[in-house]
Amino acid sequence: MTGATSDTRRREVVRQSWSVGIATGAYGISFGALAVAAGLTVWQAQALSALMFTGGSQFAFVGIVGSGGLAAAPAAIATAAMLGVRNGLYALQTSRLLAVRGHRRVAAAHLTIDESTAVSVAQAEPTLGRVGFWHTGIAVFVLWNAATLAGALVGNALGDPRRYGLDAAASAAFCALLWPRLTTPQARLTAGIAIVIALGISPSVAAGIPVLAASLAAVGVGVISARSARSARDGAGREDRPTEDAP
């Protein structure tokens, strides 16, 4: 490969990284607005975007304290953490690719999210993967935080969140985060059981608990489908089939 082609490809990866950053940053506006609608201050919303920096967990945290207040804070923390588990799994892949130490490792860990991982693992060469990781991570971080501030200030100025449909916007945001994950029958079954658990126990338990309890749907379906995949494989005496739901 000549230096010129390498430069062109590098520029393409950088461009891709920043377009992902812009697209993701845009919905930081809805996060900021929903966070203040849920009762957080502008600076608390900003702290979540700067320090938690993982969209699904942030939306879940403000959704739960929004409905249950401070009493639901432990459940909000637990749910945010469970949604953050996948970043740790992404990190298993990106740590091999990046091979960083010291303060760069801390920065890499903080920037390990859906978008930086997706752009980085999509590249054909490790060098380009590293470029994709850092550019996407930094682009999303900068734009997500700027958009959160804008959204929080706008949300503060609006007043009653229900009048502007912000409560419904939160529902739609969770739908949009969930949608791309419903690609397998197991995922759809898990979602169905989770909804039944959450709505079923909601009238009789404290706010935040229904969502935490719904995690049992993932454990149940995960364990049963792993077992049945194993027994189907053993029964047919075949090689390990590729799982259709690899992350």
Binding site: A60, A169, I195
Partner: protein, 104 residues
């Protein structure tokens, strides 16, 4: 616990999980059951969040403008609309239904 305390503990927990992937050996998490459960965990939590956020108020089951907004969101998602369009459309539908007084 204060709200600031909850925010900072949540942030710390999420950072520790990210950092763990750079520190623990990959083979600890490579089991078939563990990988299935961790793939399905966000699905269960997000589905429950949709349900609770859309159909309950203070723990009671309630059907209101949010139902229409969720239907619109699902239709737009099935047409591959982007995140911002989906969220804005849902907000507009709920706000409009409330403004004309058809539903709460």
């Amino acid at each position: 616990m204060t709200m600031w305390g909850a925010v900072l503990i949540g942030c710390a927990a999420c950072f520790v999980l990210k950092a763990a992937g750079y520190v623990v050996p990959a083979r600890w998490l490579e089991g078939r059951v563990v990988s299935r459960v961790t793939t399905l965990l966000p699905v269960a939590l997000l589905a429950a969040l949709v349900a609770v956020q859309s159909f309950t108020t203070d723990g009671r089951l309630v059907l209101d403008a949010r139902l229409a907004a969720v239907v619109v969101a699902v239709v737009l998602l099935s047409l591959r609309a982007n995140f911002v369009v989906v969220v804005l459309a849902a907000a507009v539908v709920a706000a409009a239904l409330r403004a004309v007084g058809w539903v709460a």
